[in-house]
């Protein structure tokens, strides 16, 4: 709306050329690891933790904590981008690929909603979490994932804003029709591509 507008007296910090390729528009570089969540941090004993794939599937699947740890693991190094404007480069994780988990079920679904301890949900088209784009991770920088960052396990979908990388994840519900998750019902964009600045409804 405000072509030609500038903020009197504002100069700002220029990005180095190296960074401008890695920071999506509107993002700044963060070296710490901020925590954002809508309620108390859930504490689920590992003995009662499981991960399920339910919904539009031939046969629901469930892995206990121990069974989850018999699955082949991958290491992932990616940049992450939070809708609250910070980005963090080269974060290092370990976990299990969603490709591998979803290969265990037969489905006609095109959408998925992740559900979590504490009641949080987030929705995604299946094609956004397949093809080596998403993982369930339980290790960050070589250590077990801290509870305030979503431990014991969280989704990691680095190519979308980080609210999609649901903390305290407990499973995926496969759906034929899309259905908004927690923040997606509260004004945040249904898709959330940082490079297109898909922050809020209508972006």
């Amino acid at each position: 709306m405000s072509e030609g507008f500038f903020s009197r007296g504002f100069h700002g910090r220029r990005r180095t050329s190296d960074l401008s390729e890695r920071l999506p528009p509107g993002q700044y570089l963060e070296r710490d690891f901020p925590v954002l969540s809508a309620g108390p941090t859930p504490q689920t004993p590992l003995a009662s933790w499981d991960f399920s794939i339910v919904g539009e599937v031939d046969q629901p699947k469930r892995w206990s904590w121990d069974a989850f740890h018999t699955l082949p693991r991958e290491t992932i190094t990616r940049d992450i981008h939070c809708v609250t404007k910070w980005s963090k480069l080269d974060t290092y994780w370990e976990g299990v690929s969603l490709d591998l988990l979803l290969a265990q079920v037969a489905t006609a679904a095109e959408y998925v909603i992740a559900f979590c301890d504490g009641g949080y949900t987030t929705n995604l088209p299946l094609e956004e979490v397949t093809g080596r784009k998403a993982w369930i991770v339980d290790t960050y920088e070589g250590e077990p994932l801290a509870s305030e960052h979503g431990g014991p396990a969280r989704l990691l979908i680095p190519h979308l804003y980080f609210w999609k990388s649901a903390k305290w994840v407990r499973g995926l519900r496969l759906l034929e029709k899309d259905e908004p998750g927690f923040w997606e019902s509260l004004g945040y964009n249904n898709h959330g591509d940082p490079w297109k600045e898909e922050r809020y409804w209508g972006d």
Binding site: M1, F5, S7, G12, A38, E148, W201, G202
Partner: protein, 257 residues
């Protein structure tokens, strides 16, 4: 979704700075006149965008401090971070008459409206008081008699934001209690708490679990993490504890939210 078509796109708009007011040595309130403002709910925030003459831009989020009743005027309270890019400009450079580009309101979860009722427990650490202040101001403006307790933790008396106003509001409302703790330095004669929030303090301050209070906690991450975990331990329903945090896991800064 119904709301999607109703709300439409969150457009950038220009507001004019009509007042600025230092709250503490590090925080300043900025009041904007926003002719295009469609209203907000207490607890929501805005995105602020600064543009340099050559087109360089920086964006940050800031909580709204003013109640919906003051629209189309909106007040933000900003804490200056020494290593910040946006907050030093907002607190030191921006003057009455300047224009500021923002969009909002944003956030539909950490919000309170008088008709939601209570009892209400507000727990603030440092500049985490800002969105909770919007709730207190809204409560008074809406003639709210909702029983409310605020527990506000600051490092020292001079870092307490809105101190006089909080005292005034407490005196004028029988249903509002303000409890304060100063964690680093206490003046002579201090009668409030003198330590970081802990189990004993929240046991004394929080409403009985049976009253099913609605709780809003805002502050630095370790503060929010501690307060929320204690309240869950005391038996409060996690679904009635709403949190908003700023800063990293350990300590440090607050550029917006």
């Amino acid at each position: 979704m119904e709301g999607r078509t109703l709300l439409g796109r969150l457009s950038w708009q220009l507001g004019e700075v009509v007042a600025t007011r230092p709250e503490t040595a590090r925080t300043k309130s900025i009041t904007l006149d926003l002719p295009g403002w469609t209203g907000h709910r207490a607890g929501q925030h805005v995105d602020v965008r600064l543009t340099a003459e050559d087109g360089y831009r920086a964006e940050r989020s800031y909580s709204i401090a003013s109640p919906p009743e003051e629209a189309p005027r909106v007040t933000l309270t900003v804490e200056r971070l020494d290593d910040g890019e946006v907050s030093p400009y907002l607190t030191e450079e921006l003057r009455v008459g300047d224009k500021l580009e923002l969009r909002g309101p944003i956030g539909g979860y950490f919000v309170w409206e008088a008709e939601i009722g209570g009892p209400l427990l507000l727990v603030a650490g440092g500049s985490g008081i800002v969105p909770l202040m919007a709730m207190l101001r809204h409560r008074d403006a809406a003639a709210g008699t909702v029983a409310t307790r605020l527990l506000y933790s600051s490092r020292a008396l001079e870092e307490m934001i809105y101190r006089d106003e909080l005292n005034r509001r407490m005196k004028s409302s029988a249903m509002l209690e303000v409890l304060q703790t100063l964690t680093r330095a206490q003046p002579p004669g201090w009668t409030g708490y003198s330590r970081r929030i802990d189990l004993q303090m929240l046991r004394e301050v929080a409403w009985p679990v049976e009253q099913r209070p609605l709780t809003f906690i805002c502050g630095p991450t370790p503060f929010v993490e501690t307060a929320a975990a204690i309240l869950v331990k005391l038996g409060h329903e996690p679904a009635r504890l709403k949190t908003e945090r700023f800063g990293p896991t350990g300590e440090k800064k607050h550029d917006g939210e």
